[in-house]
């Protein structure tokens, strides 16, 4: 059983500070949805409003179509996994997992059996009698997931649960969380400031900044078609040119900059004189001769070998630093430092974007 979540114009104020500002989003039943944003952007507040620890100042939170107003966390069909996991250190693992069932009056034999089942599900068979302090970080993580699953929630809420793990474990747990979500079919709402996590695991991502939802889309669209400058620069790297928009037509426009004139896709909201154009480093191509359009002469300043790709830094004659990433598959020649080359990009791969939803709207 899983339920969808509707956030309808949700607002949350702490005194005069607006933590969450008119957020609208419909999370589908069974979806893996991530809220992605820097710390202080309001994503944890959203999670706490869904779980019931904070009442929204305005707007409606619905779970499974039901208005959650006035429902305490212990009355909602949600289970929250805390950032520090908040396992009960004085109970053995199996009592931790079956605590939600104990609350519901399930007898001890059945609780124990259910705990063993869940331990198998999270790949920790036989750990029921251990104490929490005897577990490693990754094992604690699994116990926390099992404890949340035990109450058969319709919605699982995860508050940066992977942030305390080391890199290798974090990557394993990503795949594992995703697999558990697919196996159980429960709606997952995941909070993170790590774009890699959000993009790799989610069906859809909501990018947040200053309490506002900037963009809701699937991971590919978030990366390839960001709607504004905040989303573009928070998720992934960019080369940024600022200038003045000219000749806007058919969703494309000419941007006049100090480094030359460039053509790119244009978001209608991007207007005025101080407008920015964003190009991902992997779309910056080097060539010996000037390209047909969007081409700038540069001098290579640095070549960094990163393993699967090579990061090349260059400087334009007008003094702007640009970065290009070349795949390490032998398809392109790696330039040497000091070489003079032309860098160009496809107009369809670059976008002229407004700054963010905080400005103007």
């Amino acid at each position: 059983m899983s339920a969808g979540i509707d956030l309808d114009n949700v607002v949350c104020d702490f005194g005069r500070f607006r933590a969450v500002d008119k957020v609208n989003v419909n999370i589908q039943p069974g979806e893996f949805f991530s809220f992605l944003g820097p710390s202080g952007c309001g994503k944890t507040t959203i999670l706490r409003m869904i779980s019931g620890f904070i009442e929204p100042t305005g707007g409606v939170v619905r779970i499974g179509g039901k208005d959650m107003k006035g429902q305490r966390p212990n009355q909602r069909p949600t289970a929250l996994i805390f950032q520090n996991l908040a396992l009960f250190p004085l109970m053995p693992v199996w009592e931790n997992i079956s605590f939600g069932l104990e609350v519901r009056g399930v007898d001890k034999v059945r609780r124990r059996a259910r705990a063993e089942e869940l331990l198998n599900l999270v790949d920790l068979p036989g750990a029921g009698d251990k104490m929490i302090s005897q577990l490693s970080g990754g094992q604690k993580q699994r116990v926390a997931i099992a404890r949340a699953l035990a109450v058969e929630p319709q919605v699982m809420l995860l508050d940066e649960p992977l942030s305390a793990l080391d890199l290798k474990l974090r990557q394993n747990m990503r795949a594992e969380l995703r697999a558990i979500q697919k196996r159980t079919g429960v709606t997952f709402v995941f909070i993170t400031h790590d774009q890699g996590e959000a993009l790799a695991m989610s069906d859809r991502v909501g990018v947040m900044s200053h309490g506002k939802l900037q963009q809701v889309a699937n991971p590919r669209d978030i990366y390839n078609n960001p709607v504004n400058g905040f989303v573009a620069s928070f998720v992934g790297e960019n080369n940024i040119f600022s200038g003045e928009v000219q000749n806007a037509a058919d969703g494309f426009a000419q941007l006049k900059t100090a480094h030359g004139a460039f053509r790119a896709r244009m978001e209608p909201a991007a207007r005025g004189t101080n407008v920015k154009l964003y190009v991902r480093p992997e779309h910056m191509k080097f060539s010996g001769t000037p390209g047909a359009e969007n081409s700038v002469p540069v001098t290579i300043t640095e070549v960094m070998f990163e393993g699967n790709f090579i990061s090349v830094q260059a400087i334009t004659d007008t003094g702007l630093h640009v970065t290009s990433e070349l795949r390490n598959d032998g398809s392109v020649a790696i330039p040497d430092v000091g070489t003079r080359l032309h860098v160009s990009f496809d107009a369809g791969r670059a976008a002229i974007l407004p700054d963010s939803a905080t400005a103007g709207s």
């Binding site: 966390p73 805390f82 520090n84 908040a86 009960f88």
Partner: protein, 307 residues
């Protein structure tokens, strides 16, 4: 020890060690050993001290068993020595005081540790501490006045129509219990507060999120975490109550003998320090055994309390 010398240098570290040793050995252990030794010797005129009559025996300890009075213990009528009766009642009512202070301090400690905003905490602590600025004697007298037959408590209760005739508060053990609770409640509150404050609030939220009603969260999460605090608070309140002399003397009635009063009578009125010492050690010993038993029952280790 090594760290102490490294941190403060040899001069200061030695001074700290010496002062601690002085306090422990000269002011605490030595007088107690002297008392303990004298508790086994008879009370003799000065000329006989050190003479042939001055021999070790447990006669002083046996003096607690003199005489017979009726007493009812859990409905069983027994005859018992009056001093033993006072002794048992002292232990019993000290335990009662400990339980009541716990019941009173637990919600307050939880409120201070987990609910109140950190900004108003200093004010609340100040309010709790202000009564301590007044001496214990004055506070006990204040209760004596409050509880008097024509005192403020009865006047207020009667004017509110809660009671028709004055209640004689100062009779039996109730005023002593009230006085002891008032005097020692903070000794329960602060260990409890410390223990609860160290609990990760996320655990309380996690329990609630898993569907737990508030009472079960307390029973399964908060209370077990606070156990060391409860234990150290309970030990302090129990020991201080059993060893209190002032409150039972001031607020006691004719029927509320406290064993410390018995010891005081033997020592100061009969001038028999040997028997007084014997009684004092008996109280200390039985209280220690009682506390150890209770800790065993509730599964608390001594090292938990030290935390």
């Amino acid at each position: 020890m090594q760290a102490l010398f490294e941190r403060y240098g040899s001069g200061l570290a030695a001074a700290i060690l010496l002062l601690t040793a002085f306090w422990l050995l000269i002011l605490l252990i030595l007088p107690n050993i002297t008392m303990f030794e004298s508790s086994f010797r008879p009370y003799l005129p000065v000329v006989d001290v050190g003479g042939p009559k001055d021999t070790y025996s447990i006669n002083n300890y046996m003096r607690i068993f003199g005489g017979d009075v009726p007493m009812s213990i859990f409905g069983f009528e027994v005859t018992i020595a009056p001093r033993v009766k006072v002794f048992l009642l002292t232990i019993f009512y000290s335990a009662v005081v400990t339980v009541i202070t716990f019941i009173m301090a637990y919600p307050l400690a939880f409120y201070l540790a987990k609910i109140v905003s950190p900004r108003s905490l200093p004010t609340l602590f100040l309010l709790l501490f202000i009564p301590l600025w007044v001496s214990e004697i004055l506070r006990s007298f204040a209760w004596w006045i409050i509880l008097a037959l024509k005192g403020p408590l009865n006047v207020v209760l009667m004017s509110l129509g809660i009671i028709d005739t004055e209640i004689r508060w100062i009779s039996g053990f109730s005023p002593v219990i009230i006085g002891l609770i008032y005097t020692y409640v903070l000794f329960m509150l602060f260990p409890l507060y410390n223990a609860m404050q160290s609990l990760d609030s996320n655990q309380i939220e996690a329990a609630e999120d898993l569907g737990s009603p508030w009472w079960r969260t307390h029973w399964r999460v908060i209370l077990p975490h606070a156990k060391p605090g409860i234990a150290s608070g309970a030990v302090m309140v129990f020991m201080l109550s059993a060893g209190s002399l002032l409150v039972p003397s001031l607020l006691g009635s004719t029927t509320s003998g406290w064993f410390t009063q018995t010891i005081q009578g033997v020592m100061l009125e009969e001038q028999d320090w040997n028997t007084g010492a014997a009684f004092a050690f008996m109280l200390l010993f039985v209280c220690t055994v009682f506390v150890t038993l209770m800790m065993r029952v509730f599964g608390v280790k001594l090292s938990d309390i030290a935390k």
